[in-house]
């Protein structure tokens, strides 16, 4: 266009593209880090059903409504449901994954400090959904 300089517009376009690329790369990288399960993570099978959570450790130990883990270890949850959709949530550790019948979803975490944390269902799953809770006990390593 005559009598009109377009360089500020090109700079604007460049800045917008650079920002979008950067935002996308940062988000992608964070997702990659969070999704990347350590090789030595211990598998815990998590089953949701109306209206409680049950857990099965690698050694066959089963727990209902409560889960005992140790600091310094990584745990991979394999989450499924027996009836309707639930969502497995450990709020304090930002663990959140849907429990869907006929499907196994995975999420992992590595607890760092000894303590007790709430486990809850985060997908409305019926009358007693509000009380579909559990307790996570993070303990010192036994060995």
């Amino acid at each position: 266009m005559s009598g009109h300089s377009s360089w500020p517009e090109w700079i604007y376009v460049g800045v917008v593209i650079a920002l979008m690329v950067w935002v996308g790369a940062e988000a992608w990288n964070a997702e990659r880090l969070v999704d990347h399960i350590p090789e030595d993570a211990e598998v815990i099978k998590v089953t949701g059903q109306q209206w409680f959570w049950s857990f099965e450790h690698e050694d066959g130990t089963k727990e209902i409504g409560e889960l005992h883990v140790e600091t310094g270890k990584a745990y991979k949850f394999e989450i499924t449901s027996k009836d309707v959709n639930h969502s497995f949530n450990i709020h304090d550790y930002v663990v959140l994954m849907d429990a869907v019948p006929g499907r196994v979803n995975t999420v992992w975490f590595a607890p760092t400090e000894v303590g007790e944390h709430d486990i809850q269902c985060r997908e409305y799953c019926g009358l007693i959904h509000y009380n579909m809770r559990g307790k996570l006990y993070v303990e010192e390593p036994s060995s």
């Binding site: 950067w22 964070a30 969070v34």
Partner: protein
């Protein structure tokens, strides 16, 4: 104009190549123990910083434009596009 295009091509390559390299390298290394709370909070913090800076720049530019090009601004002069014949 050609210089600008070349400049932006160079900048684009400088940004895109490292991202592509890390993208193709992902998955090769074993997963590390990390605190997902820290990763997620850091991402949130960075995104919010960008969002507020961009928001401030954009809204600041709009406010400045409204002030600078208001009809009552003594510096406002009609352009040929608006017409310079004000007698009618």
């Amino acid at each position: 104009m050609k210089k600008m295009i070349v400049l932006f091509l160079v900048l684009a390559v400088m940004v895109i190549v490292p991202v592509m390299e890390s993208a193709f390298a992902a998955g090769d290394e074993p997963g590390k123990y990390l605190d997902r709370r820290v990763i997620i909070w850091n991402l949130f913090f960075k995104m919010m910083t960008v969002a507020f800076v961009v928001g401030a720049v954009v809204s600041g530019t709009i406010i400045w434009q409204c002030w600078r090009f208001r009809e009552s601004n003594p510096k406002a002069k009609p352009t040929p596009y608006e017409g310079t014949d004000w007698s009618n």
